[in-house]
């Protein structure tokens, strides 16, 4: 075959194109001919011509980028063939395009976290939810269903605490007091959680 059969792959432009290869785009700064664009008979051929030249330039640029070849193994499939893919490594996109949503902000520190950071308090290593119950010789949860913090609730005899003595609570069942205390702490924690969420927003 002679060289004459092949059409050229180079394009000459008075002003060279700029490219945004990350978005596979090219920008041609050369002005188009308004008289041809206004004539409906010529318009489409003219546009096709100009676009072809620009696509040629774009393809030339894209194919000169570094290439990465990957091989997919299909040994498990019935054909047992490997397929190779030629992937072009694109640079980062240049065109500034707006985001869809704002950049997510980091979660605000809770009141405790701020305090701990100021005081240099490190959080304890988590040692799990279960604790060993020496009396029964079993592992029980620290809190929750059958939790260790409810030990007092079902004992037949409970000592009245010193701090309750000589107050109006002295005659109330210490088991009820204990349970109330637990419920109060849960409420308090919920309140703090809510406050942190409100302050963080």
């Amino acid at each position: 075959m002679s060289d004459k059969e092949y059409k050229p792959v180079t394009v000459d432009k008075p002003i060279p194109n700029s490219f945004d290869l990350g978005n596979l785009a090219t920008f041609d700064p050369n002005p188009l001919d308004n008289s041809k664009l206004k004539d409906s008979a010529q318009r489409n051929n003219y546009l096709t011509e100009v676009t072809r030249d620009n696509v040629q330039l774009l393809i030339n640029q894209i194919l000169s980028l570094p290439v990465k070849t990957t091989t997919d193994n299909h040994e498990s499939s019935s054909t047992g063939q490997n397929s190779t893919m030629t992937l072009i490594q694109l640079p980062d996109p240049l065109a500034p395009l707006p985001r869809e949503k704002a950049i997510p902000k980091a979660r605000a520190m809770t009141k405790w976290e701020k305090f701990a950071a100021k005081k240099g308090i490190k959080s304890k290593a988590k040692d799990g939810k279960m604790v060993y119950d020496e009396e029964t010789g079993e592992w029980v949860p620290k809190w929750g269903y059958k939790g260790k913090n409810k030990d007092l609730d079902n004992q037949w005899l409970v000592e009245v605490e010193d701090k309750v003595k000589n107050t109006e609570n002295e005659l109330i069942d210490p088991r009820t007091l204990h349970r109330q205390e637990r419920k109060r702490l849960v409420k308090k924690n919920e309140l703090q959680h809510k406050r942190n969420l409100k302050n963080g927003a």
Partner: protein
């Protein structure tokens, strides 16, 4: 604002997490909304624009009485409800015939809008072309012809809009076989820079054909596959400067970290410099012998009687050997 409740199960939690703002964002999806005055041509045009955008698109079938340039709240509601940040709205009236409003949203608020009016005389839909179509979900190539795209604000807007609309997934690896269709936008010269009438915008879509050229790169030919639209540019809303700044900002977390003390020499070898810290010969571990143990160290003791070391005494500070 749409009321959000705390998700009660994992599925709704996942669905909400998908809508949240992310560092690396989802591909933008588009919503096609017919206006109350929409007609057959606009419907077909929207279908064709949607075919190019598939699978990241959604279409409303009912007409909506909205005037985007007067009251965009309803569009913002649609954007939030459907989690789409691109929208095409169609309307047709005597002053602005066959109008498509392209809107972009940031944080579900209108970011920018532009009206493009389809010129009916040279409009060819996808179905009018030969059956040569594009594969769904491929990234298109973009060609922008004309210097106006570089310096005129309206055309810069349109350039940014169409690239945003159709670029598809953001990726750094592109399959050669996936380079199939080209979206070309062209505009003529702006004849009178003072007049408000802008030249037409020509929207064309082509399919790529490559031929052997006896060289490394192939000879390229293109076939028009449609749709083909000529747009007249109408009203336009550009983003507010502070919103634009927010929208264009890049997250710091994604910036590539500069690797310190690593460089490549002229042979292409990677050379790293490391810090080994101060060398303290006093702490050097030499041969271990019983006689070198700390407790046998000879130091001046005040009274020789108390030579023994009791267990509950505090450990003495480490003395320098030799």
């Amino acid at each position: 604002m749409i009321r959000t409740v705390k998700p009660k199960n994992a599925r709704s939690k996942r669905a909400l997490a998908k809508k949240e703002a992310k560092l690396v964002e989802n591909t933008k999806s588009a919503l096609f909304v017919p206006g109350s005055t929409s007609n057959k041509l606009l419907h077909d045009a929207m279908c064709d624009l949607m075919a190019l955008k598939k699978p990241h698109c959604k279409k409303f079938s009912k007409k909506n009485e909205i005037r985007p340039f007067e009251e965009a709240a309803e569009l913002e509601f649609f954007s939030e409800k459907n989690d789409t940040s691109l929208m095409v709205f169609s309307s047709n009236n005597k002053k602005r015939p066959n109008n498509l409003t392209f809107a972009r949203f940031f944080n579900h608020k209108v970011y920018d809008m532009v009206e493009l009016s389809i010129q009916a005389d040279d409009c060819k839909l996808l179905q009018d072309f030969k059956k040569l179509t594009f594969t769904i979900g491929l990234k298109p190539m973009f060609v922008f012809n004309g210097p106006a795209f570089d310096h005129h604000p309206a055309f810069q807007h349109i350039k940014s809009l169409f690239m945003d609309f159709y670029r598809g997934d953001e990726t750094d690896l592109q399959d050669v076989a996936g380079l199939q269709h080209i979206i070309a936008l062209s505009t003529g010269e702006i004849e009178d820079p003072n007049s408000t009438t802008l030249p037409m915008l020509h929207f064309r879509v082509y399919k790529l054909k490559t031929y052997r050229s006896n060289q490394k790169v192939p000879r390229v030919e293109i076939d028009e596959i449609g749709p083909r639209f000529d747009f007249k540019i109408g009203r336009r809303i550009s983003p507010a400067p502070e919103v634009e700044k927010d929208a264009l900002s890049k997250p710091k977390e994604l910036e590539a970290r500069v690797k310190k003390n690593v460089n490549t020499d002229f042979m292409g070898d990677k050379i790293g410099r490391i810090h080994v810290g101060n060398q303290d010969l006093g702490k050097l571990q030499t041969r271990k012998m019983k006689g070198l143990k700390a407790k046998y160290d000879q130091v001046e003791v005040d009274n020789d009687d108390e030579e023994f070391v009791s267990a509950d005494e505090e450990p003495q500070p480490k003395r320098q050997k030799n």
